[in-house]
C-alpha cells in the first residue's frame, strides 16, 4: 500500500506505455483550464482546481499505480460536484475537440 512518502506512478496508455510520477501542478492546470473554459471566474477556477486536486490526492493516498484515465475520472467526479459544466467539459474535452 502506498504511503504519503511514496510517489504514485501514472500510466498513460498508448502504443507505448509511458509511466510517470503524479504531477500535482499538471492536474491543477488542466482542471483550472476546464473551469475557465466554462466561464468560471479566474479566482474560483484556481480554488476549485486546488480543492479537486486535494480530493484526488486523498484518493491516491493508498494507491501505488493508476492510469491517467483513472485520474481523469476521479477529478471529473469531484469537479462535477462543484460545477456540472466544468466537470462535463473536463471529462469530455477529448471528444469535443
Amino acid at each position: 500500500m502506498a504511503d504519503s512518502s511514496n510517489v504514485v506512478m501514472i500510466i498513460k496508455a498508448g502504443k507505448k506505455q509511458v509511466v510517470k510520477p503524479f504531477e500535482r501542478a499538471k492536474l491543477i492546470a488542466s482542471i483550472e483550464a476546464s473551469c475557465t473554459s466554462v466561464s468560471l471566474p479566474v479566482g474560483m477556477s484556481r480554488d476549485t482546481a486546488r480543492d479537486v486536486c486535494v480530493k484526488v490526492e486523498k484518493w491516491l493516498s493508498d494507491k501505488s499505480e493508476v492510469t491517467s484515465e483513472d485520474i481523469r475520472r476521479i477529478a471529473a467526479q469531484q469537479l462535477t460536484r462543484i460545477s456540472a459544466e466544468a466537470g462535463y467539459f473536463y471529462a469530455n474535452y477529448k471528444q469535443m475537440f
Partner: protein, 458 residues
C-alpha cells in the same frame, strides 16, 4: 496467425476471505497456477475478526449466562464470574486454531503464490500490486466489504467502534449504544450485555432483526430486555453524536420524539460497503454502489472475471460467500456453468436462544404475492421445554398451497442444528405431511418442527 498471449498465472484471486480462499484452494488443488492477493490479513474477515472469534466469544458468554441461571437446577452459582483478558485469550486461540487466519504460509503450502498489497486493475488482464505487475488469464474478485464512515452529524469528533474494532479495548465498556440490529449487531449486543454492559440497540425498522420474520424481533426484544437489561429502541435514528467526557453523547429520534443518552462507546454495524475501488473501469467490470454486478454464474461484465462474496452484495453471509466460491471454482473452467440455490443457505445467529432461518420469510412471500400457509409452534408446546426449563422461542414453517415447505424460522437452543432439517425439507420439496410423519426423538427440541408441520397438514 495471432501469437498466444502468455500470462503470469492461470488465475489471480483478489481477496483471501471466505469466497476467495475457497476458489483459490480449489483451483490450485486442480493443478492450475494461482496467485492469491490480500491487502490486509490473510484469511479474511470471517476467520480473523468475524464469525470465528465472535462465535467463540459467544460460546463463552452463552455458557456464562446459562450457568448463572443454574441455581434453579440446584447448582451453586454465587461466586461465578469471568476474567475478560482470559476471555479474549480464548477468542485469540480460536482464531489461531482456524489455520487460515493471518496465515500466509497456509496458502503457500497449498501450492499458490501469495502477495500482500492492494490490487488495482490497469487493463482487463493486468493488475498492479505495490507496483508489481501481474497478469492472468482469469480473475476472481473477492475483496469483500469494509466499514465506511457513518454519515451521522458529529461523527468526526468521536471515536466509534465497528464490528472489526469492537474488542480492541482491554476492558469492556460500561455502556454501549449499538446502531443497527442485524445478526452481527445482535450477537455483539448479546455478548456485552451478558458480561454486564448496559446495551442500547437502535433500529430504524419497527422490529429488531428486520430481515427476519417479525415474530423473531418482537419475541427477542422482550426477552433481551427482561433477561439482559437491554434497551431496544425501534423506529429510531441517530441524529447527532458528540464527545462528552470520556464517552459519547448521542441524540436520537424515535418517532417524533428527540432523546439523548450518554454512553461509553457507540458501535456502528450498518455502515458496510463493498470494496470496489480496484480500477474496475480499466477491467470493463460493471458495478453499482451495492457491489459488483454478476450474473447467475457469478460472472461479471468481463467474461474472464468473476466475483464472489460480499463484494457482490454486502449483506452476504459467510456460508453464502463460501457457496459462491465453490460455484466460481466450478464455473471458471467447466464447460457447463452452474448456478447456486442460495435460498437453501441457512441464516444463523449464534446467540442463546439461537436464531436460524432458511428459505422464504413471511415478508418475502408477501412481496412475491405468494399464497402460503404458516404455522408457529412456541417451544412451550414441546416436552423438552419442561426438562430444560426454557420456553423462549418457536418454530415457524411456511408452506405453499400444495403443502410443500418453502421456508422456516427457528428460535430455540440449538436452532443452528435444527434448521438443517428444514433446509433438507426445502431442498427435497418435501410436503408438510411427510415431515409431520417423520419420527422425531422425544424430548428433542426438533419435536417442534414435527408439530409445526402437523399444524399445516390439511
Amino acid at each position: 496467425m495471432a501469437r498466444k498471449i502468455k500470462f503470469d498465472y492461470d488465475l489471480i484471486v483478489i481477496g483471501s476471505g471466505a469466497s476467495g480462499s475457497t476458489v483459490a484452494l480449489t483451483v490450485a488443488h486442480n493443478g492450475k497456477k494461482v496467485a492469491l492477493i490480500d491487502g490486509g490479513v490473510f484469511g479474511g474477515e470471517s476467520a480473523n475478526w468475524g464469525d470465528v472469534p465472535r462465535t467463540a466469544t459467544l460460546e463463552a458468554t452463552n455458557l456464562y449466562y446459562a450457568t448463572k441461571r443454574g441455581s434453579r437446577f440446584g447448582l451453586r452459582t454465587g461466586t461465578l464470574g469471568y476474567n475478560y483478558p482470559a476471555l479474549l485469550a480464548w477468542r485469540d486461540k480460536s482464531v489461531r486454531r482456524s489455520g487460515s487466519a493471518d496465515n500466509r504460509k497456509f496458502y503457500e503450502a497449498a501450492g499458490m503464490d501469495t502477495f500482500v498489497g492492494d490490487a488495482y486493475f490497469l487493463t482487463p488482464h493486468e493488475i498492479s500490486v505495490n507496483r508489481k505487475r501481474l497478469t492472468a488469464q482469469k480473475f476472481v474478485i473477492a475483496t469483500g466489504s469494509h466499514f465506511a464512515s457513518p454519515g451521522t452529524y458529529g461523527i468526526e469528533t468521536i471515536k466509534y467502534k465497528t464490528l472489526r474494532t469492537m474488542f480492541d479495548d482491554k476492558r469492556i465498556p460500561r455502556s454501549l449504544f449499538v446502531v443497527g440490529s442485524g445478526p452481527e449487531a445482535i450477537e455483539y449486543a448479546n455478548i456485552l450485555a451478558t458480561l454486564g454492559t448496559k446495551v442500547y440497540v437502535a433500529e430504524k425498522s419497527d422490529h429488531i432483526l428486520p430481515d427476519y420474520d417479525h415474530e423473531v424481533g418482537e419475541l427477542l426484544a422482550d426477552y433481551y430486555h427482561d433477561s439482559l437489561g437491554m434497551v431496544i429502541l425501534t423506529k429510531t435514528q441517530v441524529a447527532e453524536v458528540a464527545p462528552k467526557g470520556l464517552g459519547v453523547h448521542i441524540t436520537y429520534r424515535r418517532g417524533n420524539l428527540t432523546k439523548s443518552v450518554q454512553v461509553d462507546s457507540i458501535l456502528y454495524t450498518d455502515n458496510r460497503v463493498p470494496t470496489i475501488d480496484l480500477g474496475l473501469e480499466n477491467a470493463t467490470v460493471d458495478y453499482a454502489t451495492n457491489g459488483i454486478k454478476v450474473d447467475d454464474n457469478m460472472r461479471t461484465s468481463a467474461r474472464h472475471i468473476f466475483a464472489a462474496g460480499s463484494v457482490t452484495n454486502h449483506s452476504v453471509s459467510t456460508q453464502t460467500a463460501m457457496l459462491q466460491g465453490r460455484l466460481v471454482a466450478h464455473n471458471l473452467y467447466a464447460k457447463t456453468p452452474i448456478t447456486a440455490n442460495e435460498s437453501l443457505v441457512p441464516r444463523i445467529i449464534f446467540v442463546d436462544p439461537a436464531i436460524a432461518s432458511v428459505g422464504l420469510t413471511e415478508s418475502d412471500c408477501l412481496k412475491r404475492d405468494l399464497a402460503t400457509n404458516q404455522a408457529l409452534v412456541p417451544l412451550s408446546q414441546v416436552a423438552r421445554s419442561n426438562t430444560s426449563d426454557f420456553t423462549t422461542g418457536f418454530v415457524k414453517l411456511i408452506s405453499n398451497k400444495k403443502g410443500i415447505i418453502i421456508g422456516g424460522t427457528i428460535v430455540a437452543p440449538h436452532a443452528a442444528e435444527m434448521i438443517q432439517e428444514v433446509c433438507l425439507a426445502i431442498a427435497e420439496n418435501m410436503t408438510v405431511s411427510k415431515l409431520a410423519r417423520m419420527p422425531h426423538a422425544f424430548l428433542s427440541w426438533s419435536e417442534a418442527i414435527r408439530i409445526a408441520a402437523g399444524k399445516l397438514v390439511k
